[in-house]
């Protein structure tokens, strides 16, 4: 098909994709460019890409604020969410894919319904539970809360992925004397890498960018995650763009690294189950 495409058509194709790419990158690049502007010029209305560039904003946000601590907290929370999230989604997804156990359908419906109840309204009761468990102002509370957000979708997605792996594998493993858990761990999981990579990406991003729960559960400066910490730069009337822009860039770097690692697998992982139909 490619050989027969006319040059004009090809040009149009590339122009469209380039345009779309530009739109996709532009806000990020604009923040990036702004983060290198000196504080007093950051809101200048002239559109000038580089205007007296300086890295002062970065050194200031790293030394004068608690950003490094927040960064560490966010890394801890996001990695733990990723770990628990992948574990819970994989086990639940496998069970839903392979076993026709009583309660399977209602579990799948429950997963869908948990996506429907607005987080904003759940926060108050969850806060009460967390404080009864003594978890307020701990990073653990966030890990659990984020798992409830990410796991239902991930379990669904992984169920779809496991559905595409032939059942003969399980049967062969059973003949070799492996129990269900060993089959899952040693046969299925290694084959499901793409699906697991997407789950890891999804859980990480969910935890990395969340603010509502973080705002509700965290109380002291040394426990803040990036999302919450960044809001302290946004008082109602005087936004500190000279802190906000470099912090926004620094926040995106770890997310970008996880993303780079997972992106090869995104398509196959996301839609494996749904395409089988």
């Amino acid at each position: 098909m490619a050989a027969r495409r006319r040059p004009a058509q090809s040009l149009l194709l590339h122009a469209t994709l380039l345009g779309a790419t530009l739109i996709a990158l532009f806000p990020v690049l604009w923040v990036l460019a702004s983060s290198f502007k000196p504080a007093n010029r950051i809101l200048s209305s002239e559109i000038r890409l580089v205007d007296q560039p300086t890295i002062q904003n970065y050194t200031r946000v790293l030394t004068e604020t608690a950003l490094p601590t927040w960064m560490l907290n966010s890394v801890i929370v996001a990695s733990m969410t990723m770990l628990f999230g992948v574990f819970m989604s994989a086990t639940a997804g496998y069970a839903m894919s392979r076993f026709n156990f009583p309660g399977r359908r209602s579990l799948m419906w429950t997963f869908l319904i948990t996506q429907m109840f607005p987080v904003a309204v759940l926060i108050v009761p969850i806060y009460t539970i967390m404080s009864n468990l003594g978890l307020i102002n701990t990073l653990t509370s966030l890990v659990f809360a984020y798992c409830t957000v990410a796991v239902p979708f991930c379990a669904w997605m992984l169920k779809g992925y496991f559905d595409t792996l032939p059942r003969e594998l399980d049967e062969a493993a059973a003949l070799d004397g492996l129990g269900p858990f060993a089959t899952f761990w040693r046969v299925i999981l290694p084959l499901a890498r793409p699906g697991l990579a997407v789950t890891a990406f999804y859980t990480f991003i969910t935890a990395w960018g969340e603010i509502a729960y973080a705002t509700a559960f965290l109380q002291t400066d040394d426990k803040f995650t990036l999302g919450y910490g960044l809001q302290t730069f946004v008082p109602q009337f005087n936004k500190q763009w000279e802190y906000l822009t470099p912090a926004a860039i620094l926040i995106s770097v770890p997310a970008a690294i996880v993303f780079l690692y997972a992106q090869r697998h995104l398509e196959s992982g996301l839609t494996a189950g749904a395409t089988k139909g």
Partner: protein, 316 residues
């Protein structure tokens, strides 16, 4: 009893595998949900939440007695208040406009890009990678970036409008331009997910189908209509359902970009519920009633949707 035992011995490993997730969801979602439904039938707010009042006596002991003004069961009053108030219909219309336009743009743009990316084209993987960037950036960062660009005095959009000789727009002073900023932000955020999911769907459509269609003399549009669209149906169904649910409840974008400006005119149901729960006198019962209303709307939507899917032979 013996039925239970055979059932246990046959299914115990399946149950063991779903126990972790059931436990976490049960404690942190289902219990609050059930409690939320209960609260929505009471008049619980910040002032009457304590069930007993304790006073310290001189000896240092505490005596507690039931709070006479504690919250009580008021039946459907919260719901009646919400549905008969003016605000609800504003929020409801906003939510519909917001959800329908966001999901439509997500789907159409995502589908367009997926079709383009599914061709053999130079630099395909680079395009694909760069086009997913909005998904990889934390949502609140993008929200700040867009608000920054829509800033009235010195935002990029107004600078650009002035540069080409047009009047700058006060984006957040009018209901619809304000809504537009939030919708643009959310469309930008959500297209990559749709694009990647649909691209995965496209890649599973066999090439033979396209070749057969071409042999039958089908043009590009006919191939798209008769091969691509039906082939994508299972994926589209799932992502549109999820996209609708997520957008309906998308809290941070409205909250961070428009914050209801002007004067609460761009509030959607979720942000309205949040304001009821956390601003002024915290009215937990009203917030809960909002939550239950949102949940019921989505349940109705999902079951109609599912029925339509069933009719078309999809079962899940």
């Amino acid at each position: 009893m013996s039925a239970l035992r055979t059932s246990l011995s046959r299914h115990w490993y399946a149950w063991a595998m779903v126990v972790p997730v059931t436990l976490v969801l049960g404690v942190l979602v289902l219990y609050p949900l059930v409690r939320g439904v209960y609260i929505s039938f009471t008049d619980l707010d910040e002032s009457n939440q304590r069930t007993e009042i304790c006073t310290k006596t001189l000896g240092g002991d505490e005596t507690c007695e039931p709070n006479p003004d504690r919250y009580t069961f008021i039946g459907l009053d919260n719901y009646v208040n919400i549905v008969t108030g003016d605000e609800f219909w504003l929020l409801f219309t906003n939510t519909l406009v917001w959800t329908v336009s966001c999901v439509t743009f997500h789907f159409v743009i995502g589908m367009g890009l997926a079709v383009l990316l599914n061709r053999e084209i130079r630099g395909r993987s680079i395009y694909r990678m760069l086009l997913i960037v909005p998904w990889a950036v934390p949502a609140f960062v993008s929200a700040f970036a867009w608000k920054f660009m829509f800033n009235e005095q010195n935002g990029l959009f107004n600078a650009a409008l002035t540069a080409i000789g047009l009047e700058p727009v006060s984006w957040f002073a009018d209901r619809w331009t304000s809504m537009l900023t939030a919708i643009l932000t959310n469309v930008w955020l959500g297209v990559p997910f749709m694009m990647i999911a649909l691209l995965g769907g496209l890649q599973s459509i066999s090439n033979d189908l396209y070749e057969a269609a071409e042999l039958d003399g089908a043009g590009a549009w006919q191939r798209f209509r008769n091969v691509t669209l039906p082939g994508l149906q299972p994926v589209s169904m799932t992502v549109v359902l999820l996209g609708t649910i997520w957008t309906f409840n998308m809290f941070p974008i409205i909250y961070l970009v428009t914050d209801g400006q002007p004067a609460g005119q761009t509030e959607i149901l979720v942000t309205g519920a949040f304001k009821a729960a956390f601003e002024g006198i915290r009215d937990y019962s009203e917030a809960a009633a909002y939550g239950v209303l949102i949940l019921s709307m989505l349940v109705v939507f999902a079951s109609i949707y599912r029925r339509v899917l069933r009719r078309q032979g999809e079962v899940w």
